[in-house]
């Protein structure tokens, strides 16, 4: 038993050394845990935010100026003036997503009860902004026109008073969420890529033969690859969560760090075992890379990080039950943002534990068959 552990330990050290011997690889791993999280946090915005607007103002009245000025950040960028013939090229070239067309004499017609029309043209290929953005805009315009007609302090009739409170991420801080999500996805990407590729590299170089002729059990080889890669990723996660996500982006940790750590450890175990299992199906690294894309792309894009999980196609949604990332993502966000206790999250941990068991034993069996001696 003691020799067993010693073998696994020494082989793992060798593995870690080989990562440190590849400076480009090391830099890339560092990039994943630092800059990548930062850029993802600040790079994009999934809400209607900063939407770009052009305006064809043919009215030039106080009201039309009010309308243009009523669009403001964070929802809309200051509107750009264009002429009527520019409308089509503007939308064709996606220079702006919204074009407002204020007809001549809009204000005068409004006061004369002539029922004028304000046109809002939307590039509907901008699927995330078209619908909500035009709804916001219509609401803002209604308000501006009502104020113009009925005075500055006009407010529409109200029969109930909805006290809307945003919970947990009260300021609706996008970078908090996106940065955290990116870190969780990065953990998944690295866990799925590193160990399997390391294994196949030994196979391609023939060094796996060296290992197999030694008095080593194939499972020892596998375990050594697992622990060393898990350690690298786990350290990266802790570093990144503390210094990039928590101190850098200011994301509060409302739950317990111990449970976040344990959940991450468990997930990394599941994902690295999965990586090993996948590697046993590939003969070389190019095959493994495509298989990884096939598994990773859907896992990442359908994890619910960017697109809401509840509006997915039911069939795909039920397929996601098989994705460990889904459980980990729900677990970690509940813990970080909503301070959920373990009593609420144990079933995600259980799911991960079961998956880990399955992938690990499956990988171990395949490993013996693919590389082992009988």
């Amino acid at each position: 038993m003691k020799a067993y552990i010693r073998h696994i330990f020494i082989l793992g050290l060798k593995e870690i050394k080989s990562v440190f011997n590849d400076p480009i690889l090391l830099t890339l791993i560092l990039y994943f845990f630092t800059l990548d999280v930062f850029t993802a946090a600040h790079g994009i915005n999934l809400e209607v935010n900063n939407a770009s607007v052009a305006v064809v103002n043919q009215d030039h009245s106080q009201l039309s100026r009010n309308l243009v000025n009523s669009l403001h950040l964070p929802y809309f960028k200051p509107a750009r003036n264009i002429t009527y013939p520019d409308i089509k090229p503007t939308l064709n070239k996606a220079k702006d997503t919204f074009v407002i067309n204020i007809p001549p004499n809009f204000a005068a017609d409004l006061l004369a009860n002539k029922h004028p029309n304000l046109q809002l043209l939307v590039d509907a290929t901008a699927i995330t902004q078209a619908y909500l953005g035009s709804a916001y805009m219509a609401e803002i315009f209604n308000g501006a026109i009502e104020r113009y007609l009925h005075g500055m302090h006009y407010s529409p009739p109200q029969i109930m008073d909805s006290r809307i409170r945003i919970q947990y991420n009260q300021s609706e801080n996008g970078p908090w969420y996106l940065g955290t999500a990116e870190l969780l996805l990065d953990v998944a990407i690295l866990s799925l890529l590193l160990p399997g590729t390391a294994l196949l590299r030994e196979k391609e170089h023939g060094t796996i033969e060296h290992l197999l002729v030694m008095p080593l059990h194939p499972v020892e080889i596998m375990l050594s690859k697992l622990w060393s890669n898990m350690l690298i990723i786990l350290l990266g996660f802790c570093f990144s969560f503390a210094f990039v996500v928590h101190f850098g982006l200011g994301v509060p940790l409302n739950g317990s760090f111990i449970w976040l750590f344990l959940g991450t450890l468990l997930f990394i175990f599941v994902a690295t075992s999965m990586s090993m299992a996948l590697a046993t199906f590939a003969n070389n690294i190019p095959q493994h890379a495509i298989i990884s894309i096939l598994v990773l792309f859907p896992m990442v894009l359908l994890s619910g990080a960017w697109t809401p999980a509840q509006s997915m196609n039911p069939l795909i949604k039920s397929l996601m039950v098989l994705s460990p990332l889904k459980y980990y993502f729900d677990y970690a966000t509940a813990l970080i943002f909503r301070g959920a206790g373990i009593s609420m999250l144990w079933h995600q941990l259980l799911a991960l534990l079961i998956m880990g068991g399955i992938f690990f034993s499956f990988a171990a069996r395949r490993f013996r068959r693919c590389f082992g001696v009988g």
């Binding site: 699927i127 109930m160 190019p286 859907p298 966000t333 943002f337």
Partner: protein
């Protein structure tokens, strides 16, 4: 500068290697199809089925009327009644519900007495994209109820003397697929060609076959382009397959110029494969090459493609980042030809951009690839 027979020989050699690895070949064809199926069926950017919980302390006809609106809306999904706010909040912490509507006692009495009863609304802010949509959907429901209530008891709402006419261009039905299906072609055809070609060179470095390049008079450009040609051909087949999948399986008609689509697709594949070659020109190991290609293609090709957020509404830094990724240009071409009905006349800057990427990537690869081992 280029010796054609040598170029041909290298291309043939690479092609033969691919053909001798049927698993890799099959994966290279299968992966785009599978990814296209999963994403086009599975992903939905619309936020709907928002899970909500009700705490109804009134149990009157009016509270039921108000809540019935939510039950019938496709944007909300009823997750049950809770007896207290604390109970409902527990469900929210666990991630089971994202909206709590708390109707106070005497809601109906206060409503009829025009005393504007206070309704408690709690929204999970973890993911700000979802919470901001939830807020505006909720407000729309309140507006609908207000109108209904006014008509019943107070008389009609003050009439509007104007209209805001919203026109959704290119995609009147606001269906995600008209953007997403052509957009996914761009996302998929960056990563798959890039990863395949990235491995082709660095593999030789790692396994030693690069010696053939070091010791023969083959020029760098001959070597790189020779390696590239088979992958370009292979992915042109993928381009056609994806094109027909969009047309026939997903029923997204091409309204614009087909030649413009395929010209763009060809250029884009050139760019994607040369991106892969660039990555493999300076990395030493396959794992490093895979990682960097993943970093550059997996997440950015999706986030910075304009599919999630229109480029025009990105913050300045992200705007230029997006411009530095090739995906957005082919998304413009693909969505432009499919859904916007455009041709070369409107899309020509995108072709120039793709050509520029190809030139820059190829020249950089030539600079970074070493003719001799160091």
């Amino acid at each position: 500068m280029i010796n054609l027979p040598r170029l041909k020989a290298i291309a043939q050699r690479e092609l033969r290697e691919i053909l001798h690895d049927p698993t890799r070949l099959m994966l290279a064809f299968l992966a785009p199809i599978l990814l296209m199926l999963v994403f086009s069926y599975g992903m939905n950017m619309d936020i709907k089925n928002i899970p909500y919980t009700v705490v109804d302390q009134d149990h009157s006809q009016y509270s039921r009327d108000f809540l019935a609106g939510f039950a019938h809306s496709k944007y909300f999904q009823f997750k049950g009644n809770a007896t207290s706010n604390a109970q409902a909040e527990k469900a929210m912490v666990a991630g089971k519900t994202q909206l709590i509507i708390n109707i106070p006692p005497h809601f109906a009495r206060d409503l009829l007495a025009q005393k504007t009863p206070q309704v408690g609304v709690f929204i999970d802010g973890t993911n700000p994209t979802i919470s901001s949509s939830t807020k505006s959907y909720y407000q729309a429901m309140v507006m609908g109820f207000t109108e209904h209530f006014y008509q019943q008891f107070i008389g009609t709402l003050p009439q509007q003397d104007y209209d805001v006419q919203t026109r959704f261009w290119y995609n009147q039905a606001m269906e995600t697929k008209y953007t997403f299906v052509p957009g996914m072609i761009a996302v998929i055809l960056l990563s798959i060609p890039a990863i395949l070609s990235a491995l082709s060179v660095v593999r030789e470095k790692e396994l030693g076959a690069i010696m053939n390049f070091y010791v023969t008079p083959t020029s760098k450009l001959e070597y790189l382009w020779g390696k590239q040609i088979p992958y370009v051909l292979l992915n042109l087949i993928n381009l056609c397959v994806l094109f027909f999948m969009a047309l026939l399986l997903f029923q997204v008609p091409i309204k614009g110029n087909i030649i413009a689509f395929f010209t763009g697709g060809f250029l884009y594949i050139l760019v994607a494969t040369s991106l892969g070659l660039l990555m493999s020109s300076f990395t030493k190991t396959q794992i490093a090459s895979i990682m960097i290609t993943f970093i550059l293609t997996l997440i950015p090709s999706f986030l910075y493609s304009g599919l999630m957020t229109p480029i025009s509404s990105l913050p300045t830094g992200a705007f230029y980042t997006a411009k530095l990724f090739p995906t957005v240009y082919f998304v413009n071409i693909s969505v432009g030809t499919f859904t916007k009905g455009l041709g070369f006349a409107s899309l020509w800057p995108n072709y120039l951009a793709l050509l520029a990427f190809f030139t820059v990537f190829s020249s950089l690869s030539c600079l970074l690839l070493r003719k001799q081992e160091r």
